[in-house]
Assembly symmetry: C2
């Protein structure tokens, strides 16, 4: 949140904490410009966002509650009890995109019962805050692909595993068409469903396809955690040994996908990308398997360095696309410097720095939107 | 819970509330027979179920907490703080299947942060308790169908809507095969995803198909709530007028499904079934549209009466299957009496009473399992 916003919060709090104002705020009918947020579920009316950007949270605490707070963006906001016994707060707004929050009732953290939870190292309440200018992830009346829940038994991990597979519009009708495949990985805090939930990958690609800005493709999203029975998960991504995840992706997932879907099953038409931990996995898996993957996308997950390129087997001849991104509030300068260093050794690459965002979904939605416009276009 | 279980709880509580025992229970290593439940998420170790059926819940409350309770099956269990500050309780077990629960910290209800939440008129913690003898909904190493998230724009409701569509194993490869379609509806407390989450509809049909006990089919699951802009949802299912949901299902969903998927688009190969509110909707939609549907399944959602049959247009000639079910702790006697009354007027029908279950998922999982073995077999 910038300084002006913080000042507005301060002025607003002075105002809102006055009991008279508080009663007027929360017990009168609203002015018709409040709309329920998209992350509120069917039966909930809150949180609401006003046309002017303010967000109204409401919570029904037990009668014995002495204090209720909203915790969002590292800030605690005191909530006010209205005459019907409900606790309320209106804040001036948040950063755009997906924001984690919860309520604190006399020291006890509770999820918002009005919210559809998301998984971020456990389930949490989230607010989808509008982002003018970022309409690329808003659902529009365009042809929609499907997101398929696809189960398989993994002999390597000895477990049933689920992946989500996006198939583009036309997949059902153009039955002689074959498609390139992007393997897209979540970060260390998420599960296999968050790229199509918090990340909106399907909506982003639907919209790009409708505008002719991307090639129709299949996107395969797997759980990034994989262990053999009894194995403790290795956290190092740099020991050079193929992780169980890599063994499973290369040995089981890719053959399954190439058998089950109408893919173009070759290196030129196979991409891997990921965010954070998924970016680190993308780096390791692609460097170890340049005969399988030609297109590489790393979002907020480090970089491929000149040293990596020198150590890899024929990187320059084999790679087709190298895309690296992060938020402007992450390691943007290092990322740009690495890009220059790669160029100096003859490795063309794309860098995208998401303006005014950090290690968060808004960075990764934008990164995917940029990446999808470049991938599978360099033939 | 039966009397013996209740007695066991009582004896157990006498035992567990003794501080010495409590320390031994919660601070020693477990005996290797505790397993994390399937509803606990990736990073959570609790709740755990013992091989003998006991369930161990654990919760990290703030240091200031004076009392923490587990609320499950209408019962509050006091939790005990162990020496590391975590609150614990072990209960003898629950009824089989999907059980709602939460923790109560000094009057404040909180979800279990270790649980994957389900939607039951809002999100809640749930425990999947094993049900020996009910293996039909356990995932097995058989061919798996896919569950597809399918979006469309509804002109009738002026909104984007999502449905989930199950396609059976073989749908991808047997590209000249066409399939009958079951429209399957959730109850008043759920959303369009719960038949494949809490209900396990996809796993149930995968297992039946592997055993040759059901016909391959497509299952279409829509959100049962539909309103036009400005319309307040009508709660009556008996006014005889087609609801907005019915208009949308008949006017938009069925044509979309018959266009998009390889269906057999005729009355003989079209079924509708639903649970609770979805059963009431099934009754209304099928009675109003006997030229579209021949197969009818009503789970815990009332019955089709002899009066309905007399009022409907050529019911006897048009219907193919009438299946009505409920839990033994619901209106089982009335359901059986209605079945007899239908038979007396020449309407063959199937009644299924789920043993020892009430208005709950275990009833509906079993009902679906029975229904799927009968549907589309009367040609």
């Amino acid at each position: 949140m910038n300084l002006i916003s913080k000042l507005l919060v301060f002025v607003f709090c002075l105002f809102a904490c006055h009991p008279q104002i508080q009663t007027e705020l929360f017990n009168v009918n609203d002015d018709g410009q409040w709309q329920k947020v998209s992350t509120a579920h069917r039966l909930s009316q809150f949180p609401k966002i006003h046309a002017d950007g303010r967000v109204w949270f409401q919570f029904e605490a037990p009668q014995t509650a002495e204090s209720v707070k909203l915790h969002i963006e590292s800030t605690d906001y005191e909530m006010q009890k209205d005459t019907s016994g409900l606790w309320n707060v209106i804040i001036p707004g948040t950063d755009p995109g997906f924001q984690i929050y919860n309520f604190i009732v006399d020291n006890v953290e509770v999820m918002d019962p009005g919210c559809t939870p998301s998984y971020v190292n456990g389930y949490t309440s989230v607010l989808e805050y509008p982002a003018p200018g970022d309409e690329f992830y808003i659902m529009k009346d365009v042809p929609h692909g499907e997101v398929r829940e696809h189960w398989f038994y993994s002999d390597i991990t000895e477990s049933f595993r689920r992946m989500y597979v996006y198939t583009p519009p036309g997949y059902q009708t153009d039955i002689n068409e074959r498609y390139p495949v992007l393997y897209l990985q979540h970060g260390g805090g998420e599960l296999e469903n968050e790229w199509t939930h918090a990340g909106r990958a399907n909506i982003i690609l639907d919209n790009l396809l409708a505008e002719g800005k991307a090639r129709p493709m299949i996107i395969v999203m797997n759980l990034g955690f994989a262990t053999k029975p009894g194995e403790v998960r290795r956290r190092s991504f740099n020991d050079g040994l193929p992780s169980t995840f890599e063994q499973m992706l290369v040995g089981e997932v890719i053959p399954d996908i190439d058998k089950f879907y109408r893919t173009v099953p070759d290196q030129k038409n196979r991409a891997m990308a990921g965010l954070s931990m998924g970016g680190m996995q993308t780096r390791m898996v692609t460097l170890n398997n340049l005969d399988l993957f030609s297109q590489i996308g790393i979002f907020s997950g480090g970089v491929i360095t000149p040293e990596d390129v020198n150590e890899a087997d024929d990187f320059k001849e084999k790679f087709g696309l190298l895309f690296i991104s992060c938020g402007s509030e992450e390691r943007a300068e290092e990322t740009k410097a690495n890009s220059e260093a790669l160029r100096e050794i003859g490795i063309e690459n794309h860098v995208y720095i998401s303006p005014n965002t950090a290690h968060e979904w808004q960075t990764w939605r934008r990164s995917l939107n940029e990446f999808l416009q470049l991938v599978f276009k360099n033939e």
